[in-house]
């Protein structure tokens, strides 16, 4: 079964854009949480990851802070 992928991002953050592009290039469906407008999502991200930097990826509960290509690949078994 496909993994549940959530990405907490802002529209202006270059590494968020690249992380989303990377997921698209690999045909990974994801839910984009725009923390610049969605305050609840912002708080959820800070609570889950204990920090405020974007992007944060939640792949089936596994949290990855930043656009860490290797970790993302591993978590998604790409």
């Amino acid at each position: 079964m496909a993994k549940q992928v959530k990405i907490y991002s802002t529209p202006t953050c270059p590494f968020c854009i690249r992380a989303k592009q990377f997921l698209k290039d690999n045909n990974v469906a994801f839910e984009d949480m725009d923390v610049s407008v969605n305050q609840a999502a912002a708080e959820e991200m800070i609570r889950k990851s204990g920090q405020m930097g974007v992007p944060v990826l939640d792949i089936d509960g596994e949290l990855i802070v930043g656009f860490d290509k290797e970790k993302i690949k591993q978590a998604l078994a790409l």
Partner: protein
């Protein structure tokens, strides 16, 4: 194995050098912390010939696509820690291995300067950030401090006026620097307070930032803020190149052919003393450095 050329860095300079080298059929290796460098952090780019408008991430994707057309060996997430000449070869030591090569191009770029005060490392991404463009939106309705007084600091403050509640600009000198248009905007904005002659001495908080300690005319006080944006300029990633001549800003000195003081070691882009730090300049310098390295190798053989 001994490479013809090792390129350190994969920003506009390093990537361009690698494309030129691949087309010259040189045996190369690219070692870098990340692909894109500062260009990946740029917002809108409107002065890269051929693109009337492109964002930093998009341009970096184009660069990467171009590089991937060739079979270029790339080591990502790897940091060079030592570089030295040993007999006729150059030794490149990284945090993950060691390599030997006939020539090197240093294209390691620049990074954000750190404040070097207590609490800075601890609170990085816990309220303290070096990228207002990225993380600014997370500080909606909060009080924040922008450290610095140049264009990047003013730009950060102006990006935050619609997001944060109040913005303090902490400036160590007696007046703001940067373009006059931006200064005027900052000075006429209601929710910005400029604190001149003021130095940050510590970042404090529990889990997240709750304030900064500032010192003005010898008097120290606590300023309550939930966000800290450090914008005090850039520094070259040149520490590993110990035997290489640098200027007072620690930028690597290069000739018009991109040669350094060490034979076989060339440098290009923002890490050098090239007068203008621009994406297109860095790319051009990368091309020049590669052609110089190619000529150097031809003379050896």
């Amino acid at each position: 194995m001994i490479y013809d050329l090792i390129i350190i860095g994969a920003g506009p300079a390093g990537i361009t050098a690698s494309i030129y080298a691949a087309r010259k059929k040189m045996d190369i290796l690219v070692i870098t912390k990340d692909v894109g460098g500062q260009a990946a952090w740029s917002g809108d780019i409107e002065n890269y010939t051929g693109y009337q408008f492109i964002t930093g991430p998009e341009l970096v994707d184009k660069f990467q696509e171009h590089m991937q057309k060739f079979d270029i060996k790339l080591k990502e997430n790897e940091e060079v820690i030592e570089l030295r000449r040993k007999d006729n070869l150059i030794l490149v030591k990284t945090d993950k291995g060691a390599y030997e090569t006939e020539s090197v191009i240093i294209a390691s770029g620049k990074r954000s300067k750190e404040l070097s005060v207590p609490g800075e490392k601890e609170f990085k991404n816990r309220g303290l950030t070096y990228c207002a463009t990225c993380d600014g939106p997370l500080f909606a309705g909060k009080d924040v401090a922008v450290i610095g007084a140049g264009n990047s600091a003013l730009d950060a403050a102006l990006q935050l006026i619609k997001i944060a509640r109040h913005i303090y600009i902490i400036n160590i000198t007696s007046a703001l620097d940067g373009d006059s248009i931006m200064r005027q905007k900052v000075e006429s904005t209601q929710n910005i307070t400029v604190l001149n002659n003021t130095q940050v001495t510590a970042v404090v908080g529990e889990k997240m930032v709750s304030g900064i300690k500032i010192k003005e005319k010898g008097k120290e006080k606590l300023l309550s803020v939930q966000g800290v944006f450090v914008e005090i300029g850039l520094m070259p990633n040149s520490e590993f190149a110990k035997d290489i001549q640098k200027n007072e800003r620690q930028e690597i000195k290069v000739s018009s052919q991109n040669a350094t003081n060490i034979p076989g070691v060339f440098a290009a882009g923002d890490v050098t003393d090239v007068p203008e730090k621009q994406i297109i300049v860095a790319a051009g310098e990368g091309a020049k450095a590669c052609l110089s390295a190619f000529r150097y190798l031809a003379q050896l053989k």
